[in-house]
Amino acid sequence: MTTLAGNLDYVATMLLFVIGVWTLVSDPNLIKKVMGLNIMETAVFAFIVTSGALEPPSPIPHALVLTGIVVAVSTTAVALALLLRVHREFGTLDLDELRDLW
């Protein structure tokens, strides 16, 4: 079991992930939730990429996150299109108001 000081990069990416989770659950605005999802995805990409920092740096984690970035962009596009329809149908993007309208 190594110390936290040696794995400071991993701890930082996990803190970013927790910030993303907090953004996802704390605000009732739907766009804020999409932003929280993006922060979580960015934290996971940073974690995978920084684990390739060996003595000759390994480029294989870079190839792994390339696909992940594209999937993140696609899901953000679909989520924002859904939010556009929700706003046009119900006039609001607040989750508490939408729950009362439903």
Binding site: L4, A63, A81
Partner: protein
């Protein structure tokens, strides 16, 4: 949920995560789990495609890249299904400084985007990065000058085929690979010119198809 509950939940989530980070092997040591399973094999195999990242993306994990290209295409399909006819937005009136700068840098951004697509198999870049640059260029012009300005950029009747150029390029490369070698996405090492053409063809297909998909998502989302 309300703020104190969310903060308590986030703090309760952070403790086991950070503790797990302390239990991982030290940052920079080669016995991390990501390097001990498949990555050692990828380093050991002779990658004939020249670049290790290209070999992982298009050869060893070629089917995953194929799936990712299909994911972009599926996102476009969903956005087009969710489209809704609405009255057009008022046409924007850009200031002369903004209009001049955008018109000045557009050719250079387009040139750089195509360069990133074509050089992507030996240098940082590739089909998707170039597609993001070209799609962003179309978005820039659409936001500044109005979407009618960029709608004429889309090729009219060939548009559905060009939007599917990513998956179609992969299918074509798979067929060519199956014909020359025995495997579905195999790259023939005894025909280096054909192998190079397959790789560049895949990158070009992903680049052009992805750029058209990104710009079409923008045009579909602003209501027309």
């Amino acid at each position: 949920m309300n703020r104190p509950l969310a903060t308590a939940f986030a703090t309760g989530l952070a403790i086991p995560l950070v503790a797990a980070m302390a239990a991982l092997p030290r940052h920079g040591s080669p016995d991390q789990p990501i390097h001990t399973h498949v990555a050692a094999q990828y380093h050991a195999w002779p990658h004939e495609l020249g670049n290790l990242v290209t070999a992982v993306l298009l050869d060893y994990r070629g089917m995953d890249t194929f799936g990712e290209v299909v994911v972009i295409f599926a996102a476009l399909m969903v956005v087009l299904v969710l489209r809704h006819k609405e009255e057009p937005l008022p046409s924007p009136d850009p200031s002369p400084i903004v209009a001049f700068i955008v018109r000045l840098v557009t050719p250079f951004i387009a040139l750089f985007g195509f360069h990133v697509i074509l050089v992507g198999h030996v240098a940082p870049g590739g089909g998707l990065q170039g597609a993001a640059i070209l799609g962003g260029l179309v978005l820039l012009n659409g936001v500044v000058f109005g979407p009618d300005h960029v709608r004429s950029l889309h090729p009219g009747r060939a548009l559905p085929w060009l939007q599917g150029a990513g998956p179609l390029a992969f299918l074509a490369a798979g067929v060519v690979g199956a014909v020359t070698t025995g495997f579905a996405l195999g790259y023939p090492t005894h025909l280096p010119l054909l192998q190079e053409a397959m790789v560049v063809g895949i990158e070009l297909g992903i680049g052009i198809g992805g750029a058209l998909i990104f710009s079409r998502i923008y045009l579909a989302m602003e209501g027309a």
